[in-house]
């Protein structure tokens, strides 16, 4: 009888420890940041590398309880971070990229530190963004002027970005996360509002979602509903573009 009681106590204590003592991280985000380029005449150094990271960290790892899955910057950023081999951003719900964007006249691309030798084109992530990842934010110029990026969405939900030039601002991630966390706005509207608030009419922003249901109903995980993944995967995307 005594042994039984002791056993129950141990089991109960283990459960209590598991619930209250171990870190609970329901959701994860990842971040890449390229701010110092080898060819500085083409891609000048960008400010706010650490500030961008701390803005995300402050908002997400506070009350919402997210954890940072990985953070890579400058020379450490490569294709694998963007899921070309199935890992990278596919390991976390939200990915945020901060850096320059480029366009070669046919396609837009993300230049890495050693551009033009290293960069990411949409063809390299064709149907690569899978079901764990939900949203990818491309805080870079002009990237979403190329709709081929939409093809990256296999079961992932949406890409948020810009179709024109823009300038760096920590207000952008701050306002986006404030909109999603404090105001529980949908992801698409939170981006619309943050971009319009941060930039003027010379900038155009865009979202590309896998389904219209996701565009209308996706909230940041833990802040409201998240629409179902598309199934089966198709080639139809939903796009909204506005002047900021």
């Amino acid at each position: 009888m005594q042994i039984r009681k002791t056993g129950i106590t141990i089991v109960a204590m283990t459960i209590v420890c598991a619930v209250f003592c171990l870190p609970v991280s329901a959701y994860e985000y990842s971040m890449t940041s390229v701010t110092a380029y080898n060819d500085g005449a083409t891609y000048p150094m960008l400010p706010y590398r650490s500030e961008m990271r701390s803005t995300l960290s402050t908002w997400l790892t506070g009350t919402p309880g997210w954890t940072e899955r990985f953070y890579e910057s400058n020379g450490w950023v490569d294709d694998t971070d963007f899921g070309t081999t199935g890992q990278g951003l596919n390991l976390a719900e939200l990915h945020y990229h901060y850096g320059h964007g480029g366009n070669d006249g046919s396609h837009s691309y993300l230049p890495y530190v050693y551009w033009p030798t290293t960069s990411l084109y949409p063809s390299e992530v064709f149907k690569k963004w899978d079901s764990v990842n939900k949203w990818v934010i491309m805080d870079a110029c002009s990237l979403l002027s190329d709709l081929d990026w939409g093809s990256a969405l296999k079961y992932s939900h949406g890409i948020l970005g810009f179709t024109t030039e823009k300038t760096p601002s920590t207000d952008l991630p701050y306002r986006f996360l404030q909109n999603t966390i404090d105001n529980d706005h949908t992801i698409a509207y939170a981006w619309q509002r943050a971009t319009q608030d941060t930039y003027g009419s010379t900038v155009t922003a865009r979202v590309i979602f896998d389904t219209d249901d996701q565009l209308d109903n996706d909230h940041l995980s833990g802040q409201g509903t998240v629409a179902a993944n598309e199934y089966p995967d198709d080639n139809v995307k939903y796009i909204s573009t506005w002047t900021c």
Partner: protein
């Protein structure tokens, strides 16, 4: 003799290996190796404007900072205002928000649609109306004010209902003339990448189509006491829409 042939062979093999190492990455990544745009730096499409040695600055006397809206903005509607009728509806909306400032100029009225796009056929299959945007910018005595802090952006839905309004406006008064650099000196600064704000994109292959003297307004939450002159270089890449590259015009 035999040693000479051996040495020649080794040199040839080394040369081939070096060629492969240097040339192969370029062959492997032809797309990424292509330069962005055909020209390097900035190309002037027209002569730079003449200017005096001084230009007006302006003191900010009052700031209007309004942002109201709801998630209804992104939902699809049956019908949204046409671009012809939207400006009048926007002005009516503005009556409840301090009215349309005298130095406001209509920039555009655009309908925004949710587009159903097929990545396979690369075509828009359906378009669903979301809202109509009406945008005003600030122009002071013929000089444009660039930036998020000098703008009215109104989004209208069914029956002209206001879905979102952003009014970021600084009311200014003449604050005296300040010494400025010429457009030529400003272009030199531009070529040296000495910009007021660095854009997140390539600074090569940009064709400058227009150059104006104007002002920069920070976003509505920043305290900005003065409007100081800036040179605005409107440039585009690959035939895209012009973007204002800003150079501080003040002579230090």
């Amino acid at each position: 003799m035999e040693t000479k042939w051996k040495l020649t062979g080794i040199v040839l093999i080394c040369a081939i290996i070096c060629s492969v190492i240097i040339v192969m990455p370029l062959v492997k990544n032809p797309a990424t190796s292509a330069p962005q745009g055909s020209a390097s730096g900035f190309v002037l499409e027209r002569a730079l404007p003449e200017s005096g040695s001084e230009a007006p600055s302006y003191h900010v006397m009052k700031k209007e900072s309004i942002f109201e809206g709801s998630e209804k903005l992104m939902t699809t509607k049956k019908i949204i205002p046409t671009t012809e009728e939207a400006p009048a509806l926007a002005e009516k909306t503005l009556e409840s928000y301090g009215g349309l400032p005298e130095d406001a100029v209509l920039v555009k009225a655009d309908q925004v649609f949710l587009e159903q796009y097929n990545t396979d056929t690369e075509s828009v299959e359906e378009r669903y109306p979301q809202f109509t945007q009406v945008i005003y910018n600030q122009v002071i005595n013929g000089s444009p004010v660039i930036g998020p802090g000098a703008e009215i952006n109104i989004c209208l839905g069914e029956n002209g209902d206001m879905l979102q309004i952003e009014k970021a406006w600084r009311h200014v008064e003449y604050g005296g003339d300040v010494p400025i650099i010429s457009a030529t000196e400003a272009f030199d600064k531009l070529e040296k990448r000495d910009l007021l704000v660095v854009p997140q994109s390539s600074l090569k292959g940009i064709t400058i189509s227009e150059v104006k003297l104007g002002y920069y307004a920070e976003d509505r939450e920043h305290d900005q006491e003065m409007y100081s002159p800036v040179w605005i270089f409107y440039g585009s890449k690959n035939g895209g829409q012009p973007y204002p590259y800003l150079v501080d015009a003040r002579r230090s």
